[in-house]
């Protein structure tokens, strides 16, 4: 869901990412016929992925965050095909084995969704996933210096 990392500030514990909703998708065929809008669960997924990149970078990719809980998710406005979204997330707490992130999505300067998310943070279950996360991180622009421990 995340196309490009716009900024990633570990000192401020914040991340900002661009996410472009596709013009066409089979999802829009049924959601809804004649009135295509992005499903709320995909807004949550967008916030979860954005926050996940923040947690990964904070941990220098030593562990993998898995979404465990979504609290007080609010879908405040409709999002249609082709809309340019700006996803933002703030790390509220870096716990032992878990992390808490506040996420939001902006469209045309207005907040369209927000939620608080809890992740279980565990060792990578296998090397394939770890390698794929590194490859995706490089593709979307996670700074190289955040991919490894200092």
């Amino acid at each position: 869901m995340v196309d490009r990392i716009v900024s990633l500030d570990l000192a401020a514990r914040e991340i900002c990412a661009d996410c472009l909703v596709p013009d066409a998708s089979p999802i829009f065929d049924g959601h809804f016929p004649g009135y295509p809008i992005l499903p709320g669960v995909l807004m949550i997924e967008t916030m979860a992925q954005t926050g996940g990149w923040l947690v990964l970078a904070t941990l220098r990719f030593s562990h993998m965050p898995f979404l465990a809980q979504v609290k007080e998710a609010k879908m405040r406005n409709f999002v249609g095909p082709g809309e340019a979204l700006r996803a933002e997330a703030e790390l509220l707490h870096d716990g032992s084995g878990y992390a808490v992130v506040k996420g939001r999505i902006m469209a045309q300067g207005k907040r369209v969704a927000d939620a608080e998310m809890v992740y279980r943070v565990v060792a990578f279950p296998n090397e394939m996933l770890r390698a794929q996360m590194f490859a995706t991180a490089r593709r979307i622009g996670v700074p190289e210096n955040l991919l490894h421990a200092d």
Partner: protein
């Protein structure tokens, strides 16, 4: 009962919807109170915030899995509160 216990019991009661009177220093968070791992994340977050600490859950889990500690040590509330007091003391040292 200690102020630490009162705070932790209040957190558990609020986050897990358990009546305060059911929570005692001898309660086992999992076996007696039925707190599952997901709810325990909420308890951990609220506890970390309340005391300004970072409970080493990963280390505790590893110790239990390796047989170096029992779940009672960390999940019976009087043991949990003692661990929290140690973390708070270490933070101030």
């Amino acid at each position: 009962m200690s102020a630490t216990f009162d705070t932790v019991a209040g957190i558990i009661s609020e986050t897990c919807d358990i009546p305060l009177e059911n929570i005692t220093p001898d309660s086992h968070a999992i076996n007696d109170l039925g707190i599952d791992s997901l709810d325990f994340l909420d308890v951990a977050f609220a506890t970390d915030k309340a005391f300004g600490i970072k409970m080493p859950l990963e280390q505790w889990t590893q110790e239990v899995n390796e047989g170096k500690a029992t779940t009672d040590q960390y999940f019976v509330l009087k043991g949990l509160c003692a661990s929290i007091d140690q973390l708070v003391a270490a933070k101030g040292a």
